[in-house]
């Protein structure tokens, strides 16, 4: 039992820290978030050069062969700077789905391109009625000749606008909440019948609602076995949750540091407000939440590599619930301790609050994961 990083892992951590320091000052980030794209293609190229885009992929396909621990190290340190590049959508989710379920030719066509930084991906799993249930899929894929025809509505698909390919969950058989009968399809973004409404999200990122109207895809678009998509989705979503948890840990730590520094400097009644015990205790509570979140994030990254599925899923829900709770608490209290300054768009703390707010809701909010945990524990 060991929570320490190896030398290689420490090098990775240092390198991500340096990237964030060089490229993600609050001013630089604010500017980037306001561009049309919402992130930087140059940063993406740099990430490819550093080998980060190949981090979780096996060495056979040109990856680094990293585990969930390496992904967590990367995400935690990117979370500190609220990095905007679509690493999660392209590498962890899109690439993760292809690597896990793809045929040899799909893997060869997509993964090396992702690693090189030439291809971006997105994962369209949610629907307006599904809330957080991955199995609630009304989008239909009907067999037609040699391929399929897709119809449906996918909601809040992060980074869909910049994705070359979108991986879509659609039902090939069964009722709308059946666990069986869900299939995954790799759909080119420019396929006829696919229309997007692109928008900005509060965390400075980009997302889209997608309508699929008689979208025709070939049989080679099917990712994995027909009707057996759910276990693949669950497995990749577990990894995504672990990555998000790590990102939240980095964001919480930095939010706490910013707030802690602020209350040391801000003076009222002739003294730094950090001298007031009521604020000290609040800050300690925020620190304790962040510390426990770090422990849960590390625990989850390690447990994802263990075989026991029940243990793994309990760890996922426990970590997401705890970190969701902590994200809300730290985000909201950071604003409170900043007073009026916390209300401005210009000052950095609000951006941490907003990203932490979305992390809490993505892939199941706190209440959802408490329920999941309870069902698994009973």
């Amino acid at each position: 039992m060991d929570f320490e990083l190896s030398d290689e892992q420490n090098m990775l951590k240092d390198s991500v820290e340096r990237f964030v320091k060089d490229n993600y000052s609050p001013e630089a980030r604010a500017k980037l978030a306001d561009t049309e794209l919402g992130f930087s293609k140059d940063h993406w190229k740099k990430m490819a050069e550093l080998g980060w885009l190949g981090l979780p992929f096996s060495e056979e396909v040109g990856g680094f062969g990293g585990t969930a621990v390496e992904t967590a190290i990367m995400m935690e340190n990117m979370g500190s700077g609220l990095v905007l590049e679509p690493f999660l959508s392209t590498v962890v989710m899109g690439g993760g789905l292809v690597a896990e379920a793809g045929s040899q030719s799909q893997i060869e066509a997509i993964i090396p391109e992702v690693i090189e930084g030439n291809m971006m991906l997105a994962f369209a799993y949610a629907e307006p009625q599904s809330r957080f249930d991955l199995n609630d899929v009304e989008t239909r894929a009907a067999k037609s000749g040699d391929g399929y025809v897709l119809n449906g509505h996918k909601s809040v698909v992060y980074h869909a606008a910049t994705a070359d390919k979108i991986i879509v969950s659609a039902r090939t058989r069964g009722g709308s909440r059946d666990e069986d009968g869900i299939s995954l399809f790799i759909v080119d973004n420019d396929t006829s019948g696919l229309s997007r409404r692109d928008y900005r999200t509060i965390d400075g990122q980009r997302a889209s609602d997608i309508k699929l109207e008689d979208v025709k895809v070939g049989s080679d678009a099917l990712l994995g076995q027909e009707g057996k998509g759910l276990p693949v989705m669950r497995s990749v979503v577990d990894r995504t949750i672990a990555a998000l948890c790590a990102e939240a840990v980095g964001a919480m730590r930095t939010a706490n540091n910013i707030t802690n520094e602020y209350i040391k400097e801000r003076k009222q009644f002739g003294t730094p407000i950090g001298k007031f015990q009521v604020l000290q205790h609040r800050m300690v509570d925020m620190y304790m939440e962040a510390e426990q979140s770090k422990s849960m994030s590390d625990m989850l990254a390690m447990k994802l590599e263990l075989d026991d599925e029940g243990e793994r899923r309990k760890a996922v829900s426990a970590a997401k619930a705890q970190i969701g709770q902590a994200s809300k608490f730290i985000g909201e209290q950071s604003i409170q301790l900043h007073g009026g300054m916390g209300m401005t768009d210009e000052y950095s703390i609000g951006h941490y609050f907003k990203r932490l707010t979305t992390i809490e809701m993505l892939f199941g909010n706190t209440d959802y994961h408490f329920k999941q945990y309870a069902a698994l524990a009973s």
Binding site: M1, D2, F3, E4, L5, Q9, V69, N260, I263, K264, G274, K275, Q277, L279, Q280, H281, M283, V284, D285, Y287, M288, E291, Q292, S293, K294, S295, M296, D298, M299, A301, M302, K303, L306, A318, A321, Q322, F370, K371, Y373, A374, A377, S378
Partner: protein, 398 residues
């Protein structure tokens, strides 16, 4: 980073399970599981069994009789002890004064006291708090005046747990009234049989006698019973408090409490169904369980940092705060789970002369006693508010 258990770890787990299955006396286990105070005889009997196995002091260095366990082994042992409702050794000797003696004591003191702690020949109690010195411990007034080869001690200690059972007390006393508060304190080991010591019971909220006042009236203590240097006692006292905080999370015991709650809930009824199916109950229990898991992995992460030679500052205060909050939430929910049978409660000794069992189902005997007693958990060992002050100063620099 790695959370897996090696083959050796699994073999060790089996050894601990086997030992507990065969060596833990049923009466000791039953009291511990219910959350009742151990009897003096039962606790000593069990600690002697532990010592015979060589497992009395997992946290001591091997040269003084420690087990030499890795942190993984300590984790496994604690987990198995908690699951089996095996009492941990009373902290006053083995966890508090023991480490002070082997860290700051002289050779004679080590030779004299450490083996007796390991074999539970001495029952120790803690003479820290005074009527005027709770969280502000350094303001203590009990005075020790040098008279030849002795100190003459006068004053009063309070909240002294199980002093009525004790053979020895370790005491903070003021040896220099003119120095700054923290700089005039010494650390003395005092035999409870010394003339001039009076122990007076304090009956607690739980109607039990676990707390005491201890009065010192011209008590003569040999100078050789002083730990380290005169007027340096505060250093040793702080070291002890730091040690106290690491064990105070009581994660394994709380995990057992979660199991008990599930057991009781499966037997209790609510709205015509099992309490275990009541959504509000499930929600409360789940939130405690997840918080407990967060605490467990935080403790492991800190132990891993220590094992890798990193220095912690006030991080263990977090373990104390969160651990005691969880203990209290658990006993509170245990009492809730009993419904109306939470209300009938009498101290154990009230039953001594009667030929009848406590009122209500068998599992109702215990939770209220523990619930009442553990209200002290967020107060003792430095109140949780004081712990927050410590983190604020030491970690956050506020």
């Amino acid at each position: 980073m790695d959370l897996s258990f090696s083959k050796e770890d699994l073999a060790f787990r089996d050894e601990v399970r086997e030992f507990l299955a065969t060596s833990l006396p049923a009466d000791v286990k039953d009291r511990c599981d219910r959350g009742l105070h151990p009897t003096k005889e039962g606790q000593i009997r069990w600690q002697k069994i532990l010592n015979e196995k060589g497992w009395m002091a997992p946290n001591w260095p091997k040269e003084y009789g420690g087990t030499g366990w890795t942190i993984t082994q300590k984790y496994i042992a604690a987990h198995e002890f908690g699951h089996a409702a095996a009492p941990i050794a009373l902290p006053f000797g083995v966890s508090m004064v023991g480490p002070v003696i082997y860290t700051f004591g002289n050779q004679e003191q080590k030779d004299k006291y450490l083996p007796r702690i390991l074999n539970s020949d001495d029952w120790w109690c803690q003479g820290y708090s005074e009527p005027g010195s709770g969280s502000d411990l350094a303001s203590l007034q009990t005075r020790a005046v040098r008279d030849g080869d002795h100190y003459v001690v006068n004053g009063q200690k309070i909240w002294t747990s199980f002093a009525q059972n004790a053979d020895m007390i370790f005491c903070l006393v003021r040896t220099d009234s003119n120095a700054k508060q923290q700089e005039g304190i010494s650390f003395l080991l005092i035999d409870m049989k010394t003339p001039g010591i009076t122990v007076k019971p304090i009956i607690g909220l739980d109607k039990e006698h676990s707390l005491n006042e201890v009065f010192f009236d011209d008590v003569r203590v040999p100078v050789e019973n002083r730990i380290g240097e005169e007027n340096k006692g505060w250093t040793y006292a702080k070291f002890l408090l730091g040690n106290e905080r690491t064990g105070i999370a009581r994660v394994a015991r709380s995990k057992r409490q979660v199991e008990r709650l599930r057991e009781i809930a499966s037997l209790e009824r609510s709205g015509g169904r099992s309490l275990a199916e009541d959504q509000d109950f499930i929600n409360k229990l789940t939130r405690i369980e997840v918080d407990l898991m967060s605490l467990e992995y935080t403790e492991l992460r800190y132990l891993s940092m220590i094992a890798n030679g990193k220095e912690l500052t006030a991080e263990p205060s977090l373990l104390k705060i969160k651990g005691t909050e969880i203990q209290q939430r658990l006993t509170s929910l245990l009492v809730e789970s009993l419904g109306m049978y939470g209300a009938p409660y009498e101290a154990e000794r009230a039953y001594a002369g009667r030929n009848e069992a406590p009122v209500g189902p068998d599992y109702a005997h215990g939770p209220m006693a523990e619930h009442l007693y553990l209200r002290a958990a967020t107060i003792y060992g430095g109140s949780n508010e004081i712990q927050r002050n410590i983190v604020s100063k030491m970690v956050l620099g506020l």
